[in-house]
Each structure stands twice: as structure tokens, then as C-alpha cells.
Amino acid sequence: MRGAPFSMNVLRPRNAPEALRAFSKNPKLTPLAGGTDFMVAWNAGQLQNRVVLDLSRLKEWKKIQKTKEGIRIGSLVTHRRIQEHPVVRSMFPLLVRACAEVGGWQIQNRGTLGGNIANASPAGDTFPPLSVYEGMVNVLSPRGRKRVPFHQVFAGVKKTTLQPGELIESIEIPYLKNRPHHQMFRKVGTRAAQAISKTVAAGLLWLKKDKTVQELRFALGSMAPTARRLKSVESFCLGKRMTPEVVDRACELLVQDVSPIDDIRSTREYRLRVSQNLLRSFLNG
């Protein structure tokens, strides 16, 4: 069954205070950003009879701003705009790469970073980069603003820790203190464009002069109910030289940090193997 427009009510606040007021008055509202996920389900006949809080008029949430500590990306900034922004391009290339692999040009023009996060798909392509860049999510409610570390936004598959009445205002990403020696973003899907990931990885690696690991950050998407930082792998590698034995052990440890499943896109075994190969090639530099 197709979606029925007459079953839907739409509220179109002009600014953030109006949006928050409407949402606190009616906690059952469904916030709508770019609609690239919502409308797919709606077209298929789900999510009918809703009151939608359309955020598309909130101009102030469509800006990318430089701050002293980093960059602040408004929640309604599209994947396309992120790719075009000169500061994001030079400071956060992994995020740019991820945004370039979300859907095609059409989807990138509509889909927003805040919508992507609120949707909380296990396969969100921007999540591994946001994880290794250690982004913070600014959440607004009538009670004020709170800063939530990126990973704490997610509660499970398509579930966030956001409460009714709370809206994502922006995402802040701090500048890296030092240039990483290696960095990587890789998405593995059925085809180069438009596909949803089987596994998606982002990595940052800093080495000391003696080639031992000063800091490693590595995150995977599509490998657990939410994007995951490989904490066991990261702490194991700390202070070690990336010898073949150490890399082998790190790849074994990867299993402890994720819980991939068999689904329509791939199998647990394939996902693990490919993710281990990505980690291996990253650590081998």
C-alpha cells in the first residue's frame, strides 16, 4: 500500500524555539529532516497517520561554522554541503569520503548529517568517521542544550537515547592535535555507489619516532547494532610496533569488539573476514 498524504499532519516551525515548543507540546511528533529514510518507509505504507515536525525551514541548522576547537556542522547540513566545505575537506577527509559514498547525488543533496544520526542505522556511513574524530552531538530541548559524546547517542538498531522533545542541533568535531601518520575510510558494499554497507571502516593512526603506536582509533559500521570503536584492538596496539605477529593478534582481537550478523546484505563470516583484512592493511600502512 502506498502512503496516504491525507493521513499526515505537518507542522512547519520557522525556527528552533518554535520547533522545540511544538515538540514539547506534542511528544508524539515525528521529526523530519531530509526525508531520505523516512519517505522510503512512508512510500511503502508505513509510518502513516503521523504528525510530522518538518524541520526544513530551520535555516540556522543548515550552517557549517568554524569554532576555536573544531568545526560545528548544523544537523540539517546535507551530505553534499559537507563534501564541498573547504575546512571539512582539509581537516576531516574521512567524513568527506563517507558523505561521498552515501547514496547517489540526489540522496546526498537531501540527506542530512543530523537525520543520519537520528535514524541510527547500524550501517550509517558517516558513523565510523564521526567515531574516530570523537564528535560531540549538541542536543536541544526546552530545558536547554546538552553535549552528548557521539557513541552515547545510540541505543541500538535504529534506536537513539534521545527523548521525545529533544532535537539534534549540531555535531561538533574537534580538530586533531597532530596529523595522523595513516588514515583510512573504506566502505564495502555490493557496488560502488548507492549500496548499503556490508562493512564500513575508518581509522586514524599516530606513531612515535621509534615506530611504536602512540594512538590508534579504529571504528566499524554494519558490524554491530551501532557503530563500534575497536577498544580491545586499540588498547592492545598501544605502544607496540606493528610487526606481523602484533597485526595478526590485533585482527584476532577485532572479533571481541563487534557482533556482526547474517542478513540480506552479507554474512557474519564475510563481514568479519573483510573487516579484519581492512584492519590488517591499515595497520600494515
Binding site: 531520505t36 522510503v40 512510500n43 547517489g104 540522496i107 537531501r110 560502488a192
Partner: protein, 168 residues
């Protein structure tokens, strides 16, 4: 009431605000050129330009495009006077069954008009959100390559006519 500019004309829509843009274009404005393929944002057949940028019109409730400038395939040339991109599609065999063609044209038009490159790989990336069920991609890419080059020629020398090629 929702006001939109469609193909250069001011239009208003008084129906349900959650009606999809594609349905408003086809049913309310009588612009049947835009096709619906998958209804999921995978195939790009429904691509139109909103403020010059390609989007899937099946994924947009019409209230979200209030005050914007929309271009559909009807804004390009007519059979008697195809634009540079349509001409290239005709000459290079870029259209087979035709269902993907309006979407292909609109995505490619945003690229060609925006001064995009004629590199086939860049064009393939640009068209990644448009599926051709006849799998006629090579001809489509060839057509866009030609359109990019022809448009540059026309801009350089407005009097040069790309019609010459056919009569040669």
C-alpha cells in the same frame, strides 16, 4: 497553500502538504515527463532539480519545497528543438526504453550546465543514483561526454551550431 516556481512559472498547490513532489508535478500540474520507478530513492527515474540540484521527487513531501525553483524534463528542449544534452542523447543512442531518460537527463543537465567535466569516470559517479534497466550506460555516458563538449563550444562561440555534425 504552497507556492513553488516550476519551470519558470509561479504555481500554487492547495492540497495535502505531505503529498509527494512527484505526485504534485504529475497529477496537479500535469507534468507527466517525470517518472516514478522504485519509489525508494534507488533508481533516480523521478529526478528533478530543486534550486538547480538533482533530487528524488518521490522522497520529498511537497511542503519541503515551498519557495524553491523546480525544473523538470519539460524545461529542456522540445522535439523540434532539443537542447544540447537531448541532442547528444539522440545522437549517441542514450535512450532505449525511456523510463530512466527524464531522470538521467535532469541529473546530467545539472552536471552539464554546472560546467562539470567530460571525464567518463566523473560522469559515471554523477549518474550513480540513476539506474537504466536496459543497461545502456555506455551510450548514456558517451552522450553526456558529448553534451559537455558541445556546450563548451557553444559558450565559446554562440554562433557555432552543433547541427552541423549531423549533416556531415
Amino acid at each position: 497553500m504552497i507556492s513553488i516556481e516550476v519551470n519558470g512559472e509561479k504555481r500554487t498547490f492547495k492540497g495535502f502538504p505531505f503529498k509527494r513532489l512527484i505526485d504534485v508535478l504529475r497529477q496537479d500540474f500535469g507534468l507527466m515527463g517525470t517518472k516514478e520507478g522504485c519509489g525508494e530513492g534507488e533508481c533516480g527515474a523521478c529526478t528533478v532539480l530543486v534550486n538547480g540540484e538533482p533530487v528524488n521527487s518521490c522522497l520529498i513531501p511537497v511542503c519541503q519545497v515551498e519557495g524553491t525553483r523546480i525544473e523538470t524534463v519539460e524545461s529542456l528542449g522540445r522535439p523540434a528543438s532539443p537542447n544540447v544534452l537531448q541532442k547528444a542523447f539522440l545522437e549517441k543512442g542514450g535512450s532505449q526504453c525511456g523510463i530512466c531518460t527524464p531522470g538521467m537527463l535532469m541529473t546530467a543537465w545539472a552536471w552539464v550546465r554546472g560546467g562539470g567535466s567530460d571525464k567518463p569516470q566523473a560522469i559515471r559517479n554523477v549518474l550513480a543514483g540513476n539506474l537504466c534497466r536496459c543497461t545502456g550506460y555506455q551510450h548514456i555516458v558517451n552522450a553526456v561526454v558529448q553534451a559537455v563538449r558541445d556546450r563548451k563550444k557553444i559558450i565559446r562561440n554562440p554562433k557555432s551550431t552543433i547541427q552541423n555534425r549531423k549533416s556531415k
